[in-house]
Symmetry: C2
Subunit: 218 residues, 2 copies
Amino acid sequence: MSLVRVHNFSISLDGFGTGEGQTLEAPFGHAGSRLVEWAFETRTFRGMGLHGESAGSSGVDEAFASAWKPGIGAEVMGRNKFGPHRGPWEDHEWKGWWGGNPVFHTPVVVLTHHPRPVLEMEGGTTFHFVDAEPAAALAQARELAGGLDVRIGGGVTTVRAFLEADLIDHLHIVLVPIVLGRGERLWDSLEGLEQRFAIEATPSPSGVVHLILTRRAR
Amino acid sequence: MSLVRVHNFSISLDGFGTGEGQTLEAPFGHAGSRLVEWAFETRTFRGMGLHGESAGSSGVDEAFASAWKPGIGAEVMGRNKFGPHRGPWEDHEWKGWWGGNPVFHTPVVVLTHHPRPVLEMEGGTTFHFVDAEPAAALAQARELAGGLDVRIGGGVTTVRAFLEADLIDHLHIVLVPIVLGRGERLWDSLEGLEQRFAIEATPSPSGVVHLILTRRAR
């Protein structure tokens, strides 16, 4: 059975998955890179060629980070993960934060109220711009995934919308020991979530805590 | 040197240290006992005679729970930890949630805008009702503590006020894997707290995660 998974989704102690004030230069707003620095050190993220040339770590952070890709046939992401622009598309040259050969190498459904033609990138990534509610977007992603799992890639609003719709089977949260104070909160509107998920916590020597939420049998 | 310590302070995944709607029957409002159940299982809490007669656990939860008392000479608590009443005291028979022989066995400073005579209880607990800002309340508690440490006992508003005033040296938070959705948030107004504290996380087989925040050298 095809599962719906979230991986490497970092939040602060106060529950913010991103800061305030996203711009081209600051995808996470005032949070800067603080939410994702733990990942930059891992072999998986180093292997994407984004964060330096050294081999990267192979401990518990890497064990969790590396699970993001195997078995995934498509990703769904919110528009704010794709880029900092709002409203109708004005810059059609913008093709995401990831350069000409994005790290996904699968179809990616980008949720937006503003349609745009499919973007075919090098390396197998195709961006499909879709105006749909979570269930319909997931159906489309499942079709594109060819029987494999679907990853919900973020941002916060997108993950929360899929949790509200009870569409997520596996949720990997990384609790980063910082207090951001402002931004987008993950847990809002999810009162009682623990009734639907088993929750396991694993601390890392890097200082983060990995939380794995697994959907209970339905 | 006398330290200011917080122990066994439970919060939900979404950062609430208590629920909504405190009453005489529900000290934690809609949270019920869910934030403190981990503690009820420990030998320390069983030893207070509040939570059953069996011996209680002796694992990591107990290791942290038992640290609440040694070296403490006084506690400071907010009025809502002392009782559910608001405004001027109308029921002078109310002497706290803990019966005639409270678990503290030290002086306790209760923060309130409504003065009231000192309450001397069995077993060495005395409740001192004080209308003061954190720094002044702490000075009074330190005097009562006779050179020992002072515990900030809660609730959320009180712990947060002492953190804002940068008066806390040791903060033991227990992250309980539930999403409460509403109540009083601990982390609000504390952006950048990690710059003042070293933070260590230890998970427990009970499902909670113990967070120890230790004030960095000033």
